[in-house]
Amino acid sequence: MSEHTVSTVDEIQDGERKLVEVEGREIAIFRLDGEFYAYTNWCAHQGGPACEGSVTGTRNAEFDREELETDLEWCKEDEILNCPWHGWEYDIPSGDCLSRDGTKLPGHPVKVEEQEIIVSL
């Protein structure tokens, strides 16, 4: 594993992302609630540029069996990355795909040292 300085902290505002190239690979750095996350820009579905997709919330639901009512809830605002090719949803903090168990964005360790963001590949 090798470490790469990819950005300064100031370059990425909270809720924003930055795409960089490291060792010929496209890597996206996301900043969310003060934390940084790094993923390869590659969707587990068909290899689309997942990290370039829109960032939104998503919908969850609960069913009340007594009342027979479904409660729809909009949640995780700004935490869900949608692949621009076919809309697969990824949870930014964990990298988990929401619609396919055990599937993740390829993630990389990130640390901040002296205002610099360092990704290990």
Partner: protein
């Protein structure tokens, strides 16, 4: 999975998950109150509609149907076709009736007839007819029939159903079925194609085209609606049985729904796993009418894809496109282990219908 062996049919206990009784209009009228009794017996305008398709091609295909009306006929069928346990239904799809109260009355009448003529004095197993036009009343009927030991499921025609069967308006029906421990059995129907697909019914020029598409389109619409509305997630202890569309459509639907789900999950957020998992965990499929590939290996692969935990044998007797046991068993005997064969012919339906045999 493959293992070639030979088994004597006489040694195998066989459950047939789809046996229809034929009920004459005058007979069901006896079980109806007024005004519906008279509207069947006395009205010059038939209450039971016909699509006008000639299913039997002027008599080229024999009629086994009209005379299959009593318990003795079922006994004879059992002996002729090596069926140990026929699961009987009253056939008539009730979704096509526009008058909600007529549909509710027919539902209760068919169930009364089933008990009175077939179950009270014989040890047959039966499915309770359900009409969806008034879901709360249907739920009451499920509670009533749920007390009967020989009733092992509820029976719903998938033709003429509007809105589609997964619609939340039908949830009282699914809740009642789950509460009573009864699986929901969905049955497709060719003659009722005109209610679901009127443009195609009018446009096609022969019944070949209608028969090819009628049952699978209805069953696909139903499965899509159930999964899309999250019905198996809402009622995790409820099982669903699909009859009369063969088996090839099921892998197609599982895979297609998986694909669409992964692109549109947030639209169907009640689902907590892939559509294929719901189908494999809570759905069962009757074999009839088994497709006829030109190469037997193709059917072997299809049965393998479905698996012995999903697949159950069905004849659809006495309807004109019924399957003899041999139609499925020739593949089971040639390609599958005796354990898998036993599952498909006996253990899987025992599990699906919670049978205590």
């Amino acid at each position: 999975m493959a293992q070639t062996s030979s088994h004597a049919l006489a040694d195998t206990t066989v459950i047939d998950t789809d046996v229809h009784i034929t009920v004459e209009e005058e007979t069901i009228a006896e079980y109806l109150d007024e005004p519906y009794r008279s509207s069947i017996l006395d009205s010059p305008h038939p209450v039971f509609p016909s699509s006008s398709w000639d299913q039997r091609m002027g008599g080229k295909i024999d009629d086994h149907f009209s005379t299959f009306t009593g318990p003795a006929d079922i006994r004879q069928f059992q002996s002729d076709f090596n069926i140990d346990y026929p699961i009987i239904n009253t056939f008539e799809p009730l979704g096509k009736f526009s008058q909600p109260d007529l549909a509710m009355s027919l539902m209760r009448a068919y169930n009364d007839l089933l008990m009175d003529r077939f179950l009270d004095d014989y040890d047959f197993l039966g499915l309770a007819a359900v009409a969806t036009q008034k879901p709360a009343e249907a739920a009451e009927e499920i509670d009533r029939m749920g007390d009967e030991d020989q009733i092992v499921g509820i029976y719903l025609g998938t033709s003429g159903e509007y809105p589609p069967l997964g619609d939340p308006s039908n949830d009282p029906i699914y809740k009642a079925a789950e509460d009573n421990g009864l699986p929901v059995v969905f049955h497709g129907n060719g003659d009722e194609f005109m209610f679901d697909f009127p443009h195609h019914n009018k446009g096609f020029n022969n019944y070949f085209e209608v028969q090819t598409l009628g049952h699978p389109w209805q069953q696909m619409a139903t499965m899509s609606s159930l999964i899309g509305e999250g019905v198996p997630a809402k009622f995790p202890d409820l099982d669903f049985v699909f009859l009369e569309a063969g088996i090839g459509w099921v892998p197609y639907m599982m895979h297609r729904m998986n694909k669409i789900y992964r692109m549109r999950r947030s639209e169907v957020p009640l689902l907590e796993k892939s559509p294929e998992e719901y189908v494999r965990d809570q759905f069962y499929i009757g074999s009839q009418p088994l497709g006829e590939p030109n190469g037997a290996e193709d059917m072997k692969r299809m049965i393998e894809t479905l698996g012995a935990d999903l697949l159950m044998f069905a004849t659809d007797y006495p309807h004109w496109d019924f399957d003899h046991l041999e139609e499925l068993d020739k593949y089971l005997q040639h390609y599958f282990s005796e354990e898998e064969r036993q599952k498909i012919l006996y253990e899987t339906p025992v599990e699906a219908f919670n049978l205590d045999l």
